[in-house]
Amino acid sequence: MLETIWFILWGILWAVYFMLDGFDLGLGSLLPVLAKNENERRIVYNAMGPFWDGNEVWLITAGGATFAAFPVAYAVMFNGLYSALLLLLFALIFRGVTFEFRGKVESQGWKSFWDLCLVLGSFLPALLLGVAFANIFQGLPIDAEGVFHGGIFTLLNPYGLAGGVLFVLLFMVHGSLWLAVKSEGAIHERAGAMAAKLWPVLLVVAVLFLAYTYGATRLFENYFSTPILFVIPAVAVAALLMQRVFMGQKAWWKAWFASSLTIVGVTLFGVAGLFPAMLPSSIDPAYSVTAFNAASSPLTLKIMLGVALVMVPIVIGYQTWVYIFLRGKVTKKDLAYEEAY
């Protein structure tokens, strides 16, 4: 029971991470397309400025919770995906310091270099996380000892890459919508247009991915044995369609929320299909790392659950407050602040 609860929490942590960091990763990837001059680039930076750091902590927590609640899954996953994870890490490192470093030296070359770091540091994590999760959905070549048989290129199989493309598109739409929410004038128009342009592509890829999932993974087994679970993909699809409706109405906040819901739905769709496996083995299902054979002791799970039940709502509370408090658009006036990026 405790294991099941933690499995659900594990899925939710990842879903929230993708939902929050998703928009700033997507927006970072699109920087050169969305911003045409220095002023607009700074608007993009400051649209993410107060939020990206808090968003990224959800990744630390998702990782930390995996470590705490399912140490075996943590060990197998991080050991097996070594090269991919280090690549992700370096991308996040360069991206993280970009915010602080970019504006600190008045030189075009300096700024362009950090812009490049932002773009790569946003695009690579989006892609790699998608590739990693799709591979997990599909199953990893892990043996009875939890040893991963393969390298980074094992992960770059067609289904894995499809997952990468899906994540990149989800995040790019999400990021464009966020910029539409946070900006005005020409860049606002461009952001809205970008979301509208990417949306049909996302729709096609999402449909293909869903169909591909049916063939390439065993995720649907859970759905057929417990049909109520179909609610999750249904919500994801409905939210995806609603995005288009809200975009048409130029209701950007609503469109962004719909996009958030889409991302949560897509993630939970995968997680619910996996249960009870966390890292299914493609060699033999019996070697799979599951919520039950990877879990911590009941005492640890109980203490961690107590901490999570108290702290996570508090975290969500103050983080939501910050989003609401700083909800206004980024304007020229904001860029004049000494502290602005």
């Binding site: 400025g49 630390i60 490192i93 310091v97 600190k104 002791s297 999570a308 996570v312 904001d334 602005a340």
Partner: protein, 434 residues
């Protein structure tokens, strides 16, 4: 080199690099909060400028602290997966608690603090920086609880082939953890005090903004003095705790080979681990090691020869790092006392100011040396007495770790240089004109 040694080097690089940035974060956040509070209380615009100026240096530094911290969490899984499996039940949960309790707070409120100078009342804004300062330090507390557990495992049972949590309270109230926390954060506060004094000294020598830097200096001198004195005292307690719980580390710290009673401490010695003795020993203080370790001049202190060769830590590294740390510790106490005495008009003492400028790097060296004592001194154990480092490593190809280690060294060097360049650039630039 094998995967174990490469992974060790990688972890050493990652953690020591991380710790170039964390200490300043811990202390400068508090100093910034103090300056901003003084502004709220006195309305003196110099203190607002101080909060902004030191806050900016804090932020430049904070960025690298955060991104390199993520690396460390990742590395337990990537490079030490067998360790993660074995102790995840306890160690992993402490890291996760750290994130939910502290890391969110500081990361979320950093953004708020940066962007709300003109949006909220000064009092509320000062409250934000206190949240950040407290959260950073609470974060350090949990990380050090996790490290202390590796130094002195408590509150666990061996079950199902791993260390499982048995007594959570014992883990979080471990005496080792309390001492390690006090010792480490005091070191961080000393570093931050010396940083602020050193930068202020640079400007005071040039007569830049004298009133402003006097005020900054005064607060930092008091801050540094309090913690430098406290550090001497709690350093001694930490040493006794090590003597009790980690006899091999103590013996390596002192390069003490033969088990004996009434053991002297040598003010100068050169260890010769090959021959299991010291090639040079000068200035013995009779009974001092027994006294310092066990509060008893006649107490027996175990020597390295009493332990199997494969359970002894690298002696020379531990010994010299310990000497550097302790020597610098006394230096900080002395210099901060001097600075405190002259705090009213530090600009009247150019020699002291110059000394303070050259002292800026020293606390960094002391803190890194301290970590070497703690971590290298614990070898060959990853969890003292429970799990050897060589049994903790992941299943990886040597080429994978070689490549990643090289990447870490290159990337970290570049980022470190840029960061210190920016810190010094903005430190020299001084605060915004009033």
């Amino acid at each position: 080199m094998d995967v174990v040694m490469l992974s060790r080097l990688q972890f050493a690089a990652a953690s020591m690099f991380h710790f170039l940035f964390v200490p300043l974060t811990l202390g400068l956040s508090i100093l910034t909060a103090i300056y901003e509070t003084k502004y709220v209380k006195t309305g003196d615009p110099d203190y607002k400028r101080a909060a902004k100026f030191w806050g900016k240096l804090f932020l430049i530094n904070f960025a690298l602290g955060v991104v390199t911290g993520i690396t460390l969490e990742f590395q337990f899984g990537t490079n030490w997966s067998r360790y993660s499996k074995y102790v995840g039940d306890i160690f992993g949960s402490i890291l996760a608690i750290e994130a939910t309790l502290a890391f969110y707070l500081e990361s979320v409120f950093i953004g708020v603090w940066i962007f709300t100078w003109d949006k909220v009342k000064p009092k509320t804004h000062a409250f934000f920086i206190w949240i950040i300062a407290i959260a950073s330090n609470v974060s350090a507390l949990w990380i050090l609880i996790a490290n202390a557990w590796m130094q002195k495992p408590v509150g666990y049972v061996l079950r199902n082939g791993r260390a499982e949590l048995d007594d959570f309270i014992a883990v979080v109230t471990s005496k080792f953890a309390v001492l390690e926390f006090l010792h480490t954060v005091s070191g961080a506060y000393i570093l931050s005090g010396f940083f602020v004094m050193g930068v202020s000294a640079w400007h005071l020598l040039r007569k830049n903004d004298v009133q402003f830097f006097r005020k900054s200096f005064r607060v930092a001198a008091t801050f540094a003095l309090v913690f430098a004195l406290f550090e001497v005292f709690n350093g001694h307690l930490s040493g006794s705790e090590v003597a009790e719980t980690q006899p091999t580390k103590l013996a390596a710290m002192e390069s003490h080979w033969e088990t004996a009673k009434n053991v002297p401490m040598y003010l100068f010695a050169i260890p010769d681990p090959e021959k299991e003795r010291n090639s040079v020993e000068f200035f013995p203080i009779p009974g001092a090691l027994s006294m310092l370790a066990f509060h008893d001049f006649s107490a027996e202190v175990k020597g390295l020869k009493d332990f199997p060769v494969d359970e002894r830590p690298p002696v020379s590294i531990t010994y010299w790092s310990f000497r550097i740390m302790v020597g610098l510790g006394f230096f900080f106490a002395l210099v901060s006392l001097l600075a405190w005495v002259k705090r009213k008009e530090p600009d009247a003492n150019p020699a002291l100011l110059r000394l303070l400028i050259y002292s800026i790097p020293l606390p960094y060296i002391a803190l890194e040396a301290g970590w070497i004592v703690a971590e290298v001194g614990r070898q060959p154990w990853i969890v003292y007495g429970l799990m050897k480092t060589s049994d903790a490593v992941s299943t990886l190809a040597t080429s994978q770790v070689t490549l990643s280690l090289a990447a870490f060294v290159v990337v970290y060097s570049i980022l470190g240089i840029i960061d210190f360049y920016l810190l010094s650039k903005y430190a020299r630039k001084g605060p915004h004109p009033a």
